[in-house]
Structure formats: structure tokens, C-alpha cells
Amino acid sequence: MSKFISAQQAAERIPDGAVIMVGGFMGCGTPHKIVEELSKKGTKNLTIICNDASMPNGPDGSDYYGVAKLVHNKQVKKLIASHVGLNPEVAKQMNEGVLELVLVPQGSLAEMIHAGGAGLGGVLTPTGVGTVVEEAEHVHSAIEVDGVKYLLERPLKADVALLSGYRIDKAGNIWYKGTTRNFNVVMATAAEIVIAEADNVVEVGEIEPENIVTSGAFIDYVVDGGVA
């Protein structure tokens, strides 16, 4: 069965109001072609789970890099992220009451997505103990285990995860370049539909099994990003 769809078809699989995970760190490792189509389509009221809100003026010459495009277009109702400091649009839309922001410590965010993808009931982390994070919606409770205080963080899942990979074979196996692994690896496990955008599509077998970082078993669809 072919896993190939176009970037446009990928965007069509995301309805208004969907919860989506988007890989990337300040736009590095974000599936830019799919995000571009999503911005063109104008899908509304999205909940986006992403490490950050990216930034304007991307290194690719774009005015708004990665998810910053969706924020700028006011397509995002709720953003779950660890850092939004490089995208001033977020604070502006929060003040206007357009955007709801949920801040999660970066390591907790990774593990909450891991828990969602791995079928675990939550994450026990010392991070955030004694801080305002204790009051956040993603925290179930503060609990003590053998004398140590932890926060019990809820698992995170999404309707659709959008990933980026430098080399992806036709079965969906992924090899990442540079620092693009970031949240892509864990997000591959935690959504109903997982779509990966390939900078380069290769034949099955071209990536050595030892070098496959994300197995195609986690990937539902592949988009040919056709960058290189």
C-alpha cells in the first residue's frame, strides 16, 4: 500500500478544531511544505502541540517560519509549548484574547508525548515542583513517592502529527539530519494519524536498518517535500 500523499492532501486530513503535533525546534525540523498548505487552506481553531512558536524571518527567507505562519494567520486557538519568546505575535494574540497559551517545561512536554504514545498513564517528574506549573491543566496532581515530591503530568495525544525527515523511504522509515530529530521522534508515536514530510524520498533499503531512527511502523503517510 502506498503511503504517499501530497502536502495538500495532508492538510485536508486536518479538520477545523483538530489537535495537531508539529515537530521542530524554532522551526528546525518542522515539515514546512505541509504547514504551508495548512496555512493556505486556512484551517481554523487548531490546537497545536509544538516545542515553541518558532519565529518570524526564517533562515529559508520566509516571513513566518514554521508554526509561526499558523499563529500569524490566527489559525491557532490553543498552543501547548515550552517557549514562545522568539515569536512576539503570541503575546500579542494572548493579550487580544485570540490565543490560549499553555506553557509546559520542555522535558515534561517530551515525556508527556512519550507517555501518550507509549500507552502510559502519565509522567512523574520533579520538574515544576514548587512553581506555578503545579496549577497547570496538564498536571493531574502533586504526589510524593518514597519521600520525594513529583508532579503527575497527564499524557498528551493528538489527532494528527506532522513530522519532518531528511531521508524517508517509501515504507516511511526516517533518517534525520542534524538537530532535526528534536520532537519529531517522540511525536511519531502519539497521534491517530502520523504524516511525515521527506526532504528526500528514497527506496526501501537505502537507509541501513541500523540508521533508521523512526520506524515506518509509526508512519501513516509520507509527503514528498522535494527539497533536495
Binding site: M26, C28, H83, G85, P105, L109, T127, V133, R181, N184
Partner: protein
Amino acid sequence: MEQSQIKGFIAARVARELKDGDIINLGIGLPTLVPAFLPKGVHVVLQSENGIIGTGPKPSSEEADPLYVVDAGGAPAMVGIGGSYIDSMTSFTLIRGGHVDCTVLGALEVDQEGNLSNWIIPGKKVPGMGGAMDLVVGAKKVIVAMEHTAKGKHKILKKCRLPFTAIHCVNMIITEMGVIEVTERGLNLTEYNPEFTIEQIREATEADITISDNLIAMR
């Protein structure tokens, strides 16, 4: 001390806290100056929480690969020889799991219980905590490196007024005025910059500080 010398002076003192082979995470700003001051023979492994263990030098414009290799601030980066790229889960396994020997970061406020506030000014600046909360909870040693006051306003307090990044997490505070260790009994000044008197240091510090019996000059 000239304003232009302060950051380098602090960074140089921080550098002498690091040991050969240490795995280090540096916050933005002043802490990034630290590697330039490492004593001869001391090599540390720099970690970038977005996914590098063993970050290399800053790339030239020819070497830069900004679409694929960046640091935690989103700026072009390079991996050093023997370094590796990791995903975010692995990165925070390193950070939270106690595998980072030392993290050096700035503060908006730090207090005499070792509590740290450096991620939010409610109503004014809400950038998010990024990896800071995990870092200060997980790193074996947390050094706050900053100017002693913010234009004369106290930053070393009896109790932080801004929301905490984490509680009881800071081990050492290094400023242009001195080196302060955070102990169970509070803040202890172990080194002072002879350009200042102890009285001036006390005045610039809201927190209670004790003076070490082995107080030495900071250099």
C-alpha cells in the same frame, strides 16, 4: 569595574568552576562567554537541549547549515568531533536524569534559600520556561552567573518575588562583586572582588549573607 569588563570577569570566574570532561549546559547571554575562558587543559562537553551533545564552535557563514543544525536559541550551530545529535527525550534524559555536571544561567532573582526566578515577568514578559525548569532540577551543579544588581535594584533577595523556575536548586552565585555559595544555612560569601568593600556587597544584596572564614579575593 568598567561596565564593559563585567561580563568577561564573571565568565572567567565561572570557567574555573568547570572540570575537564564535565558535561555542561549554558544559558543564553553571559553564560555563553564561559568557554572562551576555560583554563588550559580543561575541555568540557557542551550540550544544547534542542539536540546536541558535544556542540562545536560557532559556524562560519560557509559552515552554517541553518535549516538543519541549530542551537537552543535557533541560531546556526555545529557539532564538535565526537559529538552527537539526539532527540528531545534523550536530551532531557541527560538533563533531568542528573547526567549534566553543571548548568550556568542568568537570573532575574535568586534568594537565600537557593530558589531561582528567571523565566517570567507576569503581565510583561511571558517567553516560557523552555528547558530551564528541567535543567536546574536535574543538573548536578547550578551556577547563577549575573550582574549583582539590575541597575542598582536588588536581585539577590531574601525571597524571590517573581514566580520560581525551581525551588532550592541554586548552588553558587557568581557576580562582579563576589562568589556566593548557597548552603543549608543560607548564603555564604567565599570570594570578594577587592574593588568593592564587604559593606558595599552587603548593601547590594537584600539577602542575609555570612562571610566565609576563608574569604579570599576574587580574580
